[in-house]
Symmetry: C3
Subunit: 676 residues, 3 copies
């Protein structure tokens, strides 16, 4: 069964409405409702006084109707009585501004007060509903780090000191790691350390990176506090928290092993031509976080959101197409924020499944149509997506490469997207991987700007190549170690051997173009593979030590220097790109790499996405005109045999090839079983 | 008599200068001087010690010269000794930054300390001068809300709580109104509420709107404190305070009934081609605030101001032309900030009537010429401007439509100006009206984006149409109620019946163009009235329920959906625009509406403004070339008969038609009599 | 001997590295090392405990190798134990944000705690090393005012009050000077005064200017505290502090007499075509601060810096060319930040003399080549640059003309550069001068926008002209006096007589173009000298009183008004420019002025800079192609006779003409002798 539903916030409505809600949910095919995400002040209206009767009623009604419950722990937005009694739990910016109640997420993640009150609430909820037959999933908090990923208050300062004490043991080891002899920052004790609050100029990069790690971990500690309670009181119920996709502030690799099922919220911009590829990239990250297990699209918008400039609606068919895209990339559930669109509050213009215009609207028609269709897709549920290509993603690198006072101002996620998008256009499935995990399952591993290179990662990459892997590494990889020190042995660190190159000096290019003023003509790439092409964002002076030059810079001071190199070593091949070639050259280069690695690519009609999940082929037309797919077999949506399908804009086909076995039972595990 | 003069700040000058001042004022035709606006620290140099002797002397000299006094209460800029003794009266930003002395208006409007000290000062001034024969008008404070329209300090927080307690009575009613079940904001008591200080993300919209209302009212309370004293001590003297024109932070409808005469400060940008229409719009609002009574242009600049980037001078003739424009729109007084240009302080580069270059300057020549001319315009004084068209303006809507997290980022005043400007170009006089006042005097009422629709307003509009009125309503009207909740019954609320339409979903357009990426071709309008035209800013999905479609969208997902509708109901007609047509289409549409409503329009030569006030026709050439008017009769400036007038750039003619009665005595009441 | 070296921070490296450092320094020709700039927390790891042993070792090693020591006082970055114990010494922004440790320069310049601890440190260092034979120079603190030029904390507030008390004596005199009758700011006592913290709107301009003066002086007081100690303990050693070039926050004229030798840090943008002229302008200012004495280029980057967006490397040869440019403009030392590029800390991407890629790199090759070449340039050391042209630079004007609420937003340094650049292109040497110094040594004095005009300055300029000088004054000169009051007698003050003009009114132009909307056609200049040309930034209404009009405005309201005037008076000539002519017209005008003043100009090939220092002619090719110089004589770098030299891009020639005496011994004083 594919899960279908959304956030249901009955506290926003008169009880008289609840009956209609359940009736319409059934009509729309809803089988899972997330309840209580922002209900703290309703559940606990006064310190220690809990009111569960209304929630009992709602949960009973849903359960009676056969709608499963994803029950929230309700800790994401503390009630007014709590912050009024304890203003010291409010978060503080790096400028010292204390953020006030009036929106949500107004708590310092390190606050012991917040954690204590949250724990008491979670305990009460878990005891009340832990053995309820309708309970299917715990939904812990909400979008950790969305608004307050970093807190600089005195409480956080003390927690940071304790975290550092635990990490380094002695202040001497911290001084060594942070390089505090620079700018006279040698600490005498941990007590002297502050969060990286606003300072006269550039702050210590190791302090910044450790504060990022600490802050991500403090949010994880909040999660752990809640999960420990839930697992103790009701050990059989899986736990999730809704992630945010490709988001900088929270290091999801650390969280992945602590949730039972990965879920996340996806809100692509309806009008951006990049949205299908951006969404797919996030989907693939989520699937990868769960080790390939199916995941839940916990939130999407039925049409417009309310934080854009302006907020464009989704076009007819677009929401359905994007829902199937999530399914194609491994989702076993399609949910929305939220069931009934609010009529008050800060998000009343975020479209609900049941929008302001109600059950006669186009939006509701598309939602309920989708709910009906998903019921026919049992075959897809629980199946996996196979990928031959992996891209390394690493939060340490993300944090470190976007600090101040670096050679250039690069966006880490844009860097990843630069390569992901071309693979997406080629309909090549991609997994995301850690820099220190076994890579032998992949034929090609792409490493975009892995700024922080650990010894383990360097060894992992090298043994991958020695064992026959194809490795593709880009500029600004291996520049620093875990302490943000320049990599031992020079830029690229131990990868210099693997790649057969070394870097003498950087020459980043001006972002808005590629011309370095005073540096002569436009830079370009020449070489057997890419042909003439512009270099974007980056260039540098590279020496080869065994690698073959595959393309060179053609203008300015860099004329004739290597831009792209290839090194055969062991049984594999290691490529290095000293620049970002323009898009067409990137695509050509990747096609070459895929071919060399023996990976089939499939450049379909522009706008047509084709993904294989399990044994079904899902085709989605993201473009503006009609396209034809080559899929043949049985269309799961119509139940009819097809041999090629014509897809209008936002059209979708889900086809089981004729030669596919009837079903692959061993893959059909329920998605919500999780790891417990 | 037309009042002519300006702010006179003798405390900035040696007493020896004062004699020259009075002599030159007489030469320049000055008959009204505003004295003491920023004199608090001069009048009360130490806590409770008053020094009036210098002011006695100045007032005596002016009075002896026959120059009337507009005496300020001097409360706009507290003296250093006061804020030093009571720093808690300084205002605080939403980020918690306490604003310091060194400029002006550095007080929290809710501060009881400020109010107490201000009251003592006003009492002393009123007792000293309340029966002075030269006193003609009280000038309370200065430009309320110009810099500090919102204060977020703890004193304001407490005052806000008290205001809310008074408004809602119980916390339950506030929770209901604010929709606090969203994001867990249910308050247990009023004590838990804060001003909408900086928060992690979007704040509660009802809290924001109530804080806007509260803040505007706190300023009004400051005004009331002073006025109560003045009216008690010297009940016969009219009271004003200088308004700021179309300004967002202060809701002038609430103030209009509490001043005896409306006055305001007008500083259009000399070089902007929009300035004549923008200024006229503010003039018309001021006249409308006073119920059509003449008003005073309390401040304008003789040439350049000092807050621009850069500050362009007025061209020769421009100041005179703009002064007559104010007269044409109902002003009975033309005044300046300030008499003698300062030689120190933060506004020393704001041109005075007597600029740095003194009485041999072009500026002084133009000022004194104007002073002489105005003496010949007795006939105009006290007369009214007749308008058949009204535009609704509403501060609740202004505040609510410019909040965060809305469908789009619209400017309320730009929205009004979009329609006002085309009426201005057609030389159609316009009144501004409240949304809940009797509209039967108007033939056409324009309602631009009245985001907040009250039940009263909806009923007012409906009965207006039923009674034969012509109503023109635009997109984003009636979206929410007074609590910022979605309008009961759906967008447009009860106006759905009046207009014969309903709205299913919004599709705002990207501001810099009209193309929705991914949404197909450019949107456009087609229909019998407007012809093909671009849609700007807004589009939406509209259903008709009785209304006729007058124009449709032509591209993208909206192709074929109604863009402009017309509904005959009762004895009137109600139009609805689901978009902002481009300028030429807007003009054509308005010409059609005017014709349908039987209102004469007069598209004169571009740049030529023609206004009828009382029985005189005032023509002003705002353009760059010579134009000819068709006015014939007697030119009041020359005293000569004319039959058509050639006007050079910035030329003005003021003509009484030959068939006009000699004088309309009943309209010639002195402007400063006010309501008392 | 030309000094060659850089900052050496051995505390960042293992002692084992130090031997290599000294060896490589010798190979590279280094003869001066700046040691200890950021070593406070290493020297004094705990309050009052000093550890000098490591520094003894380093200094001994350098001295043994014959490398002189520029010993820092190490006070620029207080150690963590100090700010932890005394957070009240941390600086505060105008918004009240307390800046925290984690970078550098985190101290309030007025803090008595900071000064006391700094003094104790300096005393300890001076006692330890004051008589060390290797000590050649004291390097006090570092880049005063670079990040924290203004502090608004309560300690600063009290210090500001004391400074004002000392300056004005009585509060009445302050009130008079500040014009506090404007906006009711009359102070009753000095206690009521605050720094110009964030306020509701424009702050008092005299308060702002005095705060700038106070703040610059507080930094100077910090410097004086240290210097007094050094001069007492070791009176024979010269003292410097590294200036920042053309920097706004610190008034270097006040500092110039207190250093024994001027030194400064120069970091031009490698890719900007303006960089050679910008750098030359700063070099000339530094030479001028020292009264023409040679100075030290204390810091430059060997290649890329790390605070740019992005950080472009220097091209091959560029660093060498720019080093010789400094030499040409009077430097007797070429130093870098820093010796060995850091591998940690906030500036690890700022290229060192020995970069990350080490002693096989291009950068090191160029550095060591230069070190070798400089050894051959004894002849240049100690010689002076002769200039016939002086440009007035004045920090009061800089501060005052960039305040808020002025006629336009002008950049003072850009204004100076507008004229300097054309003189640079003409290869005319320029000195910078104070507005009140004897000018008789110069044939032409340029006065760009000297906004603040003192009586002394006006008299200086007048007597200069009367005595035969050529004076060129531009718009926005003499607008206010030292108190920011409008100049007595009107704009230009007493210079009205000297120039034979007066100004009626300003008409600043919109920055991005020259068209004043509503003001008619483009402004232009017509006249015998400049021909038709666009006016930039500024225009105004000028009356002549004896001056001849040399060019007029040609469009808009200003058509026919004077744009450029010339007044013969006494034995000299005084020009006035009421606008900024476009570049080509500026160049033509300056050529005319130079010719009139009898100064030889030399417009060489574009990109070729030719400077005469002492008796050598230094030619530098800043352009992208080969150029030829006309220099003939002996090339000091090759030792060969030359007759014209072909210079490739970044090529340099240093030629002694054949007719030059063998050596000019009397000029060859050691640069570091200073004034002591």
């Amino acid at each position: 069964m594919i899960w279908f539903g959304g956030d249901y916030n009955p506290e926003q409505w008169e009880p008289a409405t609840w009956g209609d809600d359940v009736r319409l949910m059934k009509e729309g095919g809803i089988n899972l409702a997330t309840v209580g995400v922002f209900a703290w002040s309703r559940i606990e209206p006064r310190d220690g006084e809990f009111d569960f009767e209304w929630l009992d009623e709602v949960i009973a009604a849903l359960t009676d109707a056969g709608i499963a419950i994803d029950l929230a722990t309700a800790t994401a937005s503390p009630p007014p009585w709590l912050t009024h009694a304890h203003p010291e739990m409010l978060p503080v910016t790096e400028d010292g501004v204390r953020l006030h109640p009036g929106s949500r997420q107004h708590y310092c993640p390190s606050s012991p007060i917040y954690r204590r009150y949250a724990a008491r609430l979670v305990t009460a909820i878990a005891r009340r509903y832990g053995d309820h037959p309708g309970l299917r999933l715990w939904h812990v908090n909400n979008e950790y780090g969305c608004h307050v990923g970093r807190c600089y208050c005195d409480v956080s300062a003390q927690a940071f000191r304790e975290w550092l004490t635990k990490k380094y043991g002695t202040i001497e080891r911290l001084n060594e790691a942070w390089g505090t002899t620079f700018w006279s920052q040698i600490y005498g004790s941990f007590e002297e350390i502050y969060p990286p609050r606003s300072a006269p100029t550039f702050r210590n990069p190791a302090q910044l990176l450790d504060f990022d790690r600490f802050s991500s971990n403090e949010l994880l500690e909040c999660f752990r506090v809640e999960v420990a309670i839930l697992r103790e009181i009701c050990p059989g119920v899986p736990v999730t928290t809704n992630f945010l996709g490709f988001t900088k502030l929270v290091s999801y690799w650390d969280w992945a092993s602590e949730v039972d099922i990965v879920s996340y919220d996806s809100y692509p911009e309806p009008d951006s031509p990049d949205s299908p590829a951006r969404a797919a990239m996030s989907h693939d990250l989520m699937r990868s976080l769960g080790g390939g297990q199916p995941w839940l699209l916990m939130e999407q918008a039925a049409s417009a959101v309310s934080w854009g400039h302006p907020n464009r609606p989704k076009s007819p068919g677009q929401m359905r197409a994007w829902s199937y895209q999530a399914l194609a990339h491994g989702a076993d559930g399609i949910l929305y924020f939220q069931w009934r669109q609010s009529v008050f509050g800060a998000e009343r213009f975020l479209t609900g499944m049941l929008p302001h215009s109600g059950d006669t609207s186009r939006v509701w028609a598309e939602v309920s149509q989708l709910g009906g269709e998903l019921a026919a897709l049992e075959r897809v549920q629980g199946t996996r997506v196979h990928a031959d290509v992996a891209i390394v993603v690493d939060w340490d690198s993300w944090w470190a490469i976007e600090q101040e006072a670096l050679p250039a101002q690069l966006s880490y996620s844009d860097g990843i997207f630069s390569w992901y998008r071309e693979l997406f256009e080629l309909n090549v499935s991609v997994d995301f991987v850690r820099s220190d995990q076994d890579l032998s399952a992949y034929r090609l591993v792409v490493v975009p700007s892995l700024f922080v290179l650990t010894e383990t990662a360097a060894a992992t990459f090298d043994s991958y190549v020695q064992g026959g892997g194809h490795l593709f590494v880009t500029y600004q990889t291996g520049i620093v170690d875990e302490s943000t020190r320049i990599a031992p042995g020079g830029y690229l660190g131990a990868l210099q051997n693997t790649l057969g190159v070394s870097i003498e000096e950087f020459a980043p290019l001006v972002p808005s173009g590629t011309r370095g003023e005073g540096d002569g003509p436009r830079l370009g790439l020449t070489g057997p593979i890419t042909g003439p092409a512009d270099a974007e964002l980056w260039s540098e002076y590279v020496h080869t030590h065994g690698a073959e030059v595959q393309a060179s810079f053609s203008g300015g001071s860099l004329a004739g220097w290597p831009a792209l190199t290839r090194n055969e070593t062991g049984r594999g091949v290691a490529w290095y790109a000293a620049t970002l070639p323009e898009r067409s050259a990137r695509a050509a280069l990747l096609e070459h790499l895929l071919e060399e690695a023996g990976i089939p690519a499939n450049r379909a009609v522009p706008g047509l996405e084709v993904v294989t999940r399990g044994d079904v082929v899902i085709s989605i037309n993201h473009g503006g005109g009609d396209v034809h797919t080559s899929s043949s077999g049985t269309d799961l949506l119509s139940g009819e045999p097809v041999a090629g399908v014509a897809l209008p804009p936002f059209g979708v086909s889900i086809v089981v090839p004729d030669d596919s076995p009837a079903a692959q039972a061993d893959e059909l595990e329920p998605a919500l079983t999780g790891r417990n």
